[in-house]
């Protein structure tokens, strides 16, 4: 079957990046089920694109791009309420897999993350959570590695200041 190599590539990408994409979607939406659905949608859209035989040079960057677009679409559907508003009003994380205390800590961590500029959020997430190198992050953003390194450094400073202030 001609699609077998493509299927293999997609599943390899899934095994490598599913968790990272899920986290990315979760940080933005705070809803586990939504994050799961979005993660699945990301890989299905990637599959659809790969079937057209168009080359994918950087799979990781490609998947994040799809994810961001889907997240934007999701927010648009929920335009009557922003997530920050929901969190402020006491909206709870729909994550029943963790204990109450952990849930509270998670909410706090997410709140702190979202207090950062969206670009900083991504940089911090990719550098500190996903352990991507500046070079790999540069590949996702389509920027020079040096530029990304400088931006990461500045984002880290802002994060430290934020965490210090929120003690």
């Amino acid at each position: 079957m001609k699609d077998e190599p493509l299927e293999k590539d997609l599943l390899a990408a899934y095994d490598a990046y599913a968790d990272a994409i899920f986290r990315h979607c979760y940080y933005k939406t705070s809803e586990r089920e939504v994050a799961q659905d979005l993660t699945q949608e990301v890989f299905l859209k990637a599959w659809s694109y790969m079937q057209s035989r168009r080359p994918v040079e950087n799979m990781r960057a490609f998947l994040y791009r799809i994810g961001d677009n889907l997240i934007i679409d999701w927010y648009r559907k929920r335009k009557s309420q922003s997530l920050d508003t929901l969190v402020e009003q006491g909206f709870e994380l729909t994550d029943t897999s963790v204990r109450v205390e952990e849930k509270a800590e998670m909410e706090l961590a997410l709140k702190k993350l979202r207090a950062l500029d969206p670009d900083d959020q991504n940089l911090i997430t990719w550098r500190l959570i996903e352990d991507y190198t500046p070079g790999e992050i540069a590949g996702i953003l389509g920027e020079k590695e040096n530029t990304v390194s400088v931006r990461i450094s500045r984002a880290m400073k802002r994060l430290r200041a934020l965490l210090q202030n929120s003690k």
Binding site: D3, E7, L10, L11, Y14, D15, A18, D19, F22, R23, Y26, Y27, Q36, T39, Q40, F43, L44, W47, Q51, S52, S97, V98, E102, E105, M106, L108, A109, L110, K112, L113, T125, L128, I129, L159, R160, L163, Q164, K167
Partner: protein, 229 residues
């Protein structure tokens, strides 16, 4: 890295798909891929043409030019000396036909003889319509004379060619005997063709004798009538 940052990172890292969730998503993905046997359109071999706008425009222009050219050429086919499209016939259509069809001495002889026939028919048509005024008459005379010379030259070339072919196909012993091609008419297809070409040419001249006489193109007045026959 300070404690707060480490704790922050730790909390965020704890977000992950459980093994069950990961496997479930993977299975759903595989099922969807395999179910999703949507017939992908096979790229047409003409896809490059269909999507290349500049190629489409160039092709369209070419079609227009060829169509226009073909229409004009067809219209010119029956034109007579002095008419607007006559130059298209003599300077475009006929040279093109000569290029395409006349590629052997025999074919060239046939072609030029046909053209001579055409020139003579044109002259007769003009005469019938009483259009052979002084200027046009001179133009027509010169056209027939020139074409007559061409036809005779080609017939002569064809004869030379066929004689050479006959010699080449004859054995040395035959060349030295009375039956050899240099001794007389041996017959053979090339010689028959040559004779045919000459006969055809003579036939054309005989057929149009009346107009040739009217245009003073007989008896040494021009190249129309064959000499030495």
């Amino acid at each position: 890295m300070d404690h707060h940052t480490q704790k922050f990172i730790q909390q965020l890292r704890s977000v992950a798909l459980s093994d069950k969730e990961r496997e479930s998503l993977r299975s759903t993905l595989i099922d969807t891929i395999r179910e999703n046997k949507v017939a992908r359109p096979v790229p047409s071999p003409w896809a490059w043409f269909l999507h290349a706008q500049h190629v489409q425009v160039a092709f369209l222009l070419l079609v227009i030019v060829i169509s226009y050219g073909s229409t004009v050429t067809l219209s010119a086919e029956n034109s007579l000396p002095g008419e607007t499209l006559y130059p298209v016939k003599t300077f475009v259509a006929e040279p093109l036909a000569r290029l395409i069809t006349a590629n052997t001495p025999s074919a060239q002889a046939t072609f030029e003889t046909k053209l001579l026939n055409e020139r003579l028919k044109e002259a007769e048509a003009l005469d019938t319509q009483s259009k052979l005024g002084a200027t046009l008459r001179q133009t027509v005379r010169e056209g027939i004379r020139a074409q007559s010379i061409k036809a005779e030259t080609r017939v002569s070339d064809a004869a030379e060619e066929s004689r050479a072919a006959a010699v080449a196909s004859t054995s040395p012993s035959q060349i030295l005997t009375e039956e050899g091609p240099l001794q007389g008419s041996r017959g053979g297809s090339e010689e028959a063709d040559t004779h045919t070409s000459e006969r055809v040419l003579q036939g054309v001249l005989n057929e149009h004798k009346r107009i040739l006489e009217k245009l003073d193109l007989v008896n040494g007045s021009g190249g129309a009538e064959r000499k030495g026959e």
